[in-house]
């Protein structure tokens, strides 16, 4: 055999380089499919399908994409106070009515929507010391469209143990409210037989609708980040972000009740919020790898010029079990103070404020989530997981003295939900 030439060694060395090349780089596509169910007791139910596709190319270049489709059904609180007798409301479109029974939290049950969201992101190193990333995100639902773009640059320092980054994002949202955007703090017109005909009702309804004004909003976010590797087992991250939103920030489907001294709801006023919002956030996260577990804890503080301040503490503990199985308990506490213009109701006879909303989502609120995820890594790097979580939301009293009949009613109804998710990585 012709094994005498030294060129054999060269050919062999070249071949062995391609044998070992890219061993540490993931090849081909990674897919992640998930199906999530979210169910509030007696209210919103949602089914969400998530499909992610990631590809890591040579030199740490990475492409990721995501498709989310969710479908919501059910009812959500419209902001009105409950009453000791039944109440009737006009649907957002003006074409119908819905009612809330005595003592019930008024829920708008015409709530039904399907949302489709598509996102794509590309990141790659730029030379030895920088990493850049850019992406886009589009979402579409019946009455809402959003397009967002983001870019960031990161700089490695200190032997890649420190990364500082600066990110910018811009989002354009447009709202196409069902029935049009209500005039802020105008009174909901309810057909109780007082109109001569349908045209007369329609004219009164139309008078509560805006003809001009902004129907969308723009959001600019700036995020300054620091990732610090403390040692092989411990990594920390800190972010500061600023966000400016400008445009139509009111929820066109929410109302604030105007009540008399006996607590009787005399009018439902469409809510009205400021046209700008400035938000600042601070985020800190620590991830520690133990022998057979990973502990992840994070804290987020947000503050905005609506007067809402929030604190979030979240923690996950990832335990590795035998046979590539893992179990991951999860807890999250969230607390926020109410917006300056939040009020559970307005009093009849008092002058109307410029802005008012009774939306519990910008009221004083505590929530907590308790959950657990169980998963198993299969051969060929495939993995499945099941997540079950319990979510509890408890709006808090903001100290407004309940009038008359409201004293005996629940102005701050709490809500429980269950989340069940299956996912499969392949």
């Amino acid at each position: 055999m012709q094994l005498k030439k030294t060129s054999i060694k060269k050919a062999l060395f070249a071949a062995s380089c391609s044998l070992l090349a890219g061993n540490s780089v993931a090849k081909d596509w990674d897919f992640d499919a998930a199906l999530m169910y979210y169910g509030e007791s007696d209210r919103v139910q949602a089914i969400e399908g998530i499909f992610k596709a990631n590809r890591t190319l040579k030199d740490d270049r990475e492409f990721s994409s995501k498709l989310v489709v969710d479908s919501l059904t059910g009812a959500s609180a419209n902001g009105a106070v409950p009453q000791t007798s039944a109440q009737t409301f006009t649907t957002p479109s003006g074409n119908g009515q819905y009612t809330a029974g005595a003592g019930e939290t008024p829920l708008d049950d015409s709530f039904l929507d399907t949302r489709v969201q598509v996102a794509a992101q590309w990141s790659q190193p730029l030379g030895e010391k920088y990493i850049v990333s850019t992406g886009a995100n589009f979402s579409n639902e019946y009455d809402y469209q959003s397009a967002a773009f983001n870019s960031s640059i990161g700089r490695y320092l200190n032997n890649k143990n420190t990364t500082v980054s600066l990110g910018l994002s811009y989002a354009m949202d447009s709202v196409d409210a069902v029935g049009g955007r209500p005039v802020g703090l105008s009174t909901m017109v309810v057909d109780e037989g007082q109109f001569a005909n349908a045209e007369a009702f329609q004219a009164a309804f139309d008078a509560t609708r805006q003809s001009g004004g902004e129907d969308g909003k723009d959001t600019v976010d700036v995020v300054l980040g620091l990732t610090q590797v403390i040692n092989r087992r411990w990594i920390t991250q800190f972010n500061i972000s600023l966000s400016e939103v400008d445009g139509y920030l009111t929820d066109p489907y929410k109302v604030v009740s105007q009540v008399d001294t006996s607590g009787l709801s005399v009018n439902q006023l469409y809510e009205n919020r400021p046209g700008t919002r400035s938000k600042q956030a601070f985020f800190a996260q620590s991830k520690y790898h133990f022998e057979k577990s990973v502990w992840d804890i994070s804290y987020r503080l947000t503050n905005d010029d609506w007067g809402i301040q929030s604190h979030t503490i979240e923690s996950r503990y990832h335990f590795l079990l035998s046979n590539n199985r893992y179990i991951e308990p999860h807890v999250r506490f969230y607390q926020q103070s109410e917006a300056d213009f939040y009020t559970p109701f307005l009093r009849e006879g008092e002058s109307l404020p410029e802005f008012a909303s009774a939306d519990y989502r910008i009221g004083k609120l505590n929530t907590y989530t308790l959950g657990v995820k169980y998963g198993k890594k299969l051969e060929n790097g495939r993995e499945y997981g099941v997540r079950l979580e319990y979510y509890s939301q408890a709006p808090q009293s903001v100290g407004v003295e309940p009038l008359g009949q409201l004293e005996s009613l629940d102005l701050y109804p709490s809500l429980d939900a269950v989340i069940l998710q299956f996912d499969y990585k392949f």
Partner: protein, 296 residues
């Protein structure tokens, strides 16, 4: 002093370094870490042992329901492969071409006729003739997606798998601890990720040559096993088989160890030397590599 005996490796502290001993690929294995940082040694041990086990589970011909089993039991059907398998097959293809057909991953089926138990029981020629149609790398068809072989044929990654695992574990250690010298030793196939502090050599015993070899940089691999042979009528039959004849290579050294930058390179050079039979030393000289050759 053994500090920890976890289920898959045993970590020991020495004067200036840590060692992790474990058993894999039918061999005693060892990782040496030139550090006094125990948590680093543990962390690298976990990653290294996991990688060896991953490769063994995937490519061992003894396992059932792994990729190797699927390929060898496809009965003529194409089998889907991944990029790693494709790279190994491509490397085997290069070795096959460079050796003009002597390095052949399909020659393992000849073991059904040959049992190298130091006895004098040679197989009958008809037994070998029955197996030869199942040998021949040129009959294997593969792309980056699939491999297809004739029914009954088998590939045996044993010829490159262990050396590949050594190089792969070295890459992982170098990636995670670029400043620490790690020696990876899987049953005598060895690679060092980088020189130690002050260029101190690692000293490793090579059983087949009954000597301790100092190694500063690069890799060592050994082919051949002095304990696996047959002896009949004063004639010694070593266990390296010629895939073309089905008989042992004549006048081959009993064992060859070579030094090269990477273990996969050293392993292949050692095997090609054995396959050169009586010209083994000449082959190694021509390749300009450091080697240790034992003839018995």
């Amino acid at each position: 002093m053994a500090i920890r005996a976890l289920k898959n490796y045993e970590l020991s502290r020495h004067n200036s370094y840590f060692s992790a001993k474990f058993h894999a690929m039918a061999s005693p294995c060892e990782l040496l870490f030139d550090t006094r940082d125990q948590s680093l040694a543990e962390w690298l041990s976990e990653k290294g042992v996991a990688e060896v086990q991953r490769i063994e589970e995937k490519f061992s011909r003894y396992a059932k329901n792994n990729l190797c089993f699927a390929i060898n039991n496809a009965d003529g059907a194409p089998v889907e492969i991944d990029d790693e398998c494709y790279r190994l097959l491509s490397f085997a293809q290069t070795c096959y071409e460079l050796s003009e057909g002597m390095f052949d991953l399909t020659s393992g089926v000849l073991r059904r006729a040959w049992k190298f138990d130091c006895s004098d029981r040679l197989p009958q020629q008809h037994q070998i003739d029955d197996l030869l149609p199942l040998v021949g790398w040129e009959k294997v068809r593969f792309t980056d997606r699939h491999i297809q072989m004739q029914p009954g044929m088998e590939v045996d990654f044993g010829g490159i798998g262990k050396e590949y695992a050594v190089s792969s574990v070295s890459d992982i250690c170098l990636h995670h601890a670029p400043n620490v010298s790690v020696l990876v030793n899987l049953g005598g196939d060895i690679q060092v990720t980088k020189p130690r502090e002050r260029n101190l050599p690692w000293r490793v015993g090579i059983e087949n040559h009954k000597q301790v070899i100092p190694i500063i940089q690069g890799a060592l691999a050994t082919s051949g096993d002095a304990k696996r042979y047959l002896l009949k009528n004063g004639k010694r039959y070593g266990h390296i088989l010629n895939p073309k004849t089905g008989w042992p290579i004549r006048n081959a050294p009993s064992s060859v160890t070579t030094h090269a930058p990477l273990c996969v390179q050293a392993g292949c050079l050692a095997t090609l030397a054995l396959l050169s039979g009586k010209e083994a030393e000449q082959f190694l000289k021509n390749q300009d590599v450091k080697y240790w050759c034992t003839r018995t």
